[in-house]
């Protein structure tokens, strides 16, 4: 296995919500004790529904939010503790983020050149005289040709797919080792998506970039990713190699997600999904117990009392489920 680029240990983020008249301060547990490793030249998919905390994870990793607790090991530095702007900027010269909405992530008042050029100048990647050349080279890398024409345009003159490529070129300017892609294709037309996914694959192979691919689309996760993390209500509920997890999902939530994906060939009637009410959003001060219990077809007594730990139930594959991935020690610790 290739070397670790970013190691996340016990990462948590709580957002305060308004307190009651005389109540204590309450918190939304947006991200709760999440651990995983991003490796060079590998794509890790982070899958979950809206509100599950998956975008928050990406924003924590790029330090747009400060973590409540946990460590983010980059090399031998814990960047979760970085506070000064200098440290954070230095970190961001290695770890970059691609935003979801290519219509919102480019400044409408600025040219494409500005967007790609600024990181080059801020991080002094190349000598000022070579900036133009490098801008063109980056645009060519992401498939925007001819770069001279593209650079002079404004965002509104490009299509969604082209804008997303600009956004990717901008992140590549600093020659990052880690790229966090927050649903980079969800706002794009289906026919354009594959192009962006292929570009990610190319970058992974040619530049050995470690990718975190945040998505709600399991099929595209299977297409680009090597490993998968499934998130539900702020917690990781399953993780492992993508083929293995999708072929044999252990957590009932992963199974539910998988069955909900449209799959040409089987009619709706052929695979009806029975879903219990409830949603995947992070909860305010969640009680002890499995967070999926209300919707779970497999729930047993212990599920609503004890939060299941992440247990390795198959080689390389772990899940948070008392039924499918029981931990021998859990009953001992609970009593």
């Amino acid at each position: 296995m290739s070397e670790a680029a970013l190691e996340v240990r016990g990462l948590s983020k709580r957002f305060p919500v308004s307190t009651g008249v005389r109540g204590r301060r309450r918190y939304v547990h947006a991200v709760d004790d999440v651990s995983f490793t991003l490796r060079r030249g590998r794509v890790t998919a982070l899958v979950g529904e809206s509100g599950s905390g998956k975008s928050t994870v990406a924003r924590l990793l790029v330090r747009l939010y400060a973590p409540t607790s946990g460590t983010i090991l980059f090399g031998d530095r814990d960047v979760a503790r970085d506070r000064s702007r200098r440290d954070i900027v230095r970190y961001r010269s290695q770890v970059q983020m691609i935003f979801q909405d290519p219509f919102g992530s480019l400044n409408p008042a600025k040219t494409i050149r500005h967007h790609v050029e600024r990181p080059l100048r801020i991080h002094e990647v190349v000598r000022p005289a070579e900036t133009d050349n490098r801008v063109h080279e980056l645009l060519r890398t992401v498939g925007l040709v001819p770069p001279e024409h593209v650079a002079a345009k404004y965002p509104h003159q490009l299509s969604g797919g082209q804008r997303q490529r600009v956004a990717i070129a901008r992140t590549l300017a600093v020659e990052p080792t880690v790229l966090l892609a927050d649903e980079p294709t969800s706002m794009l037309d289906v026919s354009i998506r594959i192009g962006i996914l292929n570009l990610m694959l190319k970058l992974k192979e040619e530049r050995r970039i470690a990718f975190l691919y945040v998505t709600h689309d399991l099929a595209s996760a299977r297409y680009v990713a090597d490993d998968i993390l499934v998130m539900y209500a702020g917690q990781l509920v399953e993780q492992g190699p993508v083929e293995q997890v999708l072929a044999n999902p252990l957590h009932p939530y992963t199974q539910l997600l998988l069955s909900a994906v449209p799959d040409p060939g089987t009619g709706l009637a052929a695979k009806r999904v029975e879903v219990q009410k409830g949603h995947a959003s992070a909860a305010v001060d969640p009680p002890e117990g499995c967070r999926f219990v209300a919707r779970c077809p497999l729930a047993i007594d212990v599920c609503s009392r004890v939060t299941p730990p992440l247990v390795e139930a198959a080689p390389g594959q772990s899940a948070r489920c008392h039924v499918n991935a029981p931990a021998p020690a859990v009953f001992a610790t609970a009593s």
Binding site: N107, G143, H149
Partner: protein, 323 residues
Amino acid sequence: MAQIQPTLDVPEAIAEPLAPIEPAVARKSRFRIPGWLRLTLRNPKARLGLAIVLGMVLLGLLAPLLIDASKATEFSFDSRQAPSLNHLFGTTDQGQDVFAQVVWGARRSLALGLLAGVIATALAVVLGVFAGYVGGVVDDLLNLVTSVFFVIPTIPLLVDVTAFLHTRGMLTMALVIACTLWAFEARILRAQALTLKNRDFIQAAKVAGESTRRIVFGELMPNMISRIAAAFVLVFYIAILVDAGLEFLGLGQMDKPSWGVALYWATVNSSMLQGEWWSFLFPGLAIGITVLGLTLVLAGIDEVSNPRLRTERGERRFLRRAA
């Protein structure tokens, strides 16, 4: 699935690159008129308004060529004349030429509005946008300051200040008006900055490593220009109205030609009762037309920056949604 195979065999060379992108329309100069401004200039309301305001500005600029300033203030025996070729707008009880008052008054009113607008806008941009973007304690503090200024009533303060300083000069007036109106403008801009700061392009600039100063002035501001322009125009015309209002109450600089002072004298001399409609009408019209012009400009900017107010002209926007 066998049927799909043919497309999978497409040579990589055709499949990968996007369609080439055509060059942007060639422009002669490097200067680019921002889109909102171009749209504003095409808006009929804004055009009419701008024409009116520019007409007034021209009148003010050409004042020395048109008529001697002294005729507006100095008494003469040629009093109570109805409009004629000699005195286009007639003369007052004291024989001052009303045309001279209107023309020279335009100079004062417009200069004052401009000055007040510039000062208030500068303050509002720096404090409002900055507060909105930075947030936290800075925002709370600046917001407090803004709130204090916000509740100061302009006209009583001006009455006090002019009494205290023994001066009723244009500069003083402009400064005081700006000081009381910037807070109002800052509120508007702060709200706008608050909505923009959570947009992804600001987050992306942050991730790219931009400093706060650059984000505020380089990334945020260019997207707020139309709002800032609108706020500027707003202060501009409020300043003209407040100034004229104070002078009308007799708190102006009596020895300088101005619209408000002209109206003041017209009241004092009860010109209206004596049928001298011209000494009221022309200065009043001058104020009315100028403010109307500025209001139209404001409405034009508003229509352009708020697509919901646009009707037939929103074609491009419409098209994009025509999916």
